[in-house]
Symmetry: D2
Subunit: 90 residues, 4 copies
């Protein structure tokens, strides 16, 4: 289970909805044979939105789960876990 305050949860969901809207627009652009450069730029908008959402999630994870793990003496497990995410990041 996650420690996500109600307003953070809503903020994340709001951002994901925007990303989904942008993504649906990309699909429509492909169906409509829109010029590649315009589609690539719209795709970047989705990626930027998801990157920002990931940062909100990460900040919440550090403030909640990681801080909590540290105060309970489980620092190494929590940090190893989060480093796994960073190492896969492209």
């Amino acid at each position: 289970m996650a420690y996500r305050p109600k307003d953070t949860q809503e903020r994340i969901l709001h951002r994901l909805k925007i990303a989904k809207g942008h993504l649906e627009k990309v699909m429509k652009m492909i169906e409509d044979d829109t010029y590649c450069i315009d589609v690539l730029q719209q795709l970047q908008a989705v990626e930027n939105q998801l990157k920002g959402t990931g940062n909100v999630l990460l900040e919440n994870h550090l403030k909640g789960c990681v801080a909590d793990a540290i105060s309970k003496g489980k620092k190494d497990e929590a940090i190893t876990e989060i480093m796994t995410v960073f190492q896969k990041q492209k």
Copy 2:
């Protein structure tokens, strides 16, 4: 208008549908208070899928529009345009 062969268009739409499915799973995970690390990993799956889709689009753009622009003597315009996309890339 874009030069996208039918099978490339379908391949891109198929990938975007997978990305959308992954993204909807992320939204469900947030609603279900799923542990942050699991959500972050699922979010990375969406980002990787979109990155791969962007590469299919880019390859098609190079093979179609850019090659065409070059053979018509519009090399500089086509390359300036594509560099704008790369320079904004994160």
Copy 3:
């Protein structure tokens, strides 16, 4: 001042030396008119090495400075600071 154990400091310096060696090779390749694709691949080797070094630094920062800040009740300052780095990340 930073909390970096001696072996972590040496590990980071070792990686930075490798990155510098790769970078000097890129410079030599440019002077020798090496084919662009080969230079781009060597440049990616430098970037991957730096990315890996950044992850070692980050892990050490989380285990040392951030864990310390959290146990001293300075959680918010430490996390805001680290998020500034992530938000600028490309």
Copy 4:
């Protein structure tokens, strides 16, 4: 062999020298036990400099080698080659 005009070659070398200077500063910061966040920010400066250099190289490759390959009917080889670089990009 690469098609790099003299001024482009110099521009790339100039950028690589700046990146090398930044990298040497990172090494000095590690030796001096500089605070992690400051080192991470300096490391980002190196990475941004290298990314920018990669874009100059890429633009030159597209305008020179790729355009040349396309006019010689070797479009597919040139584009497959460049996509290999993008697909490894993180």
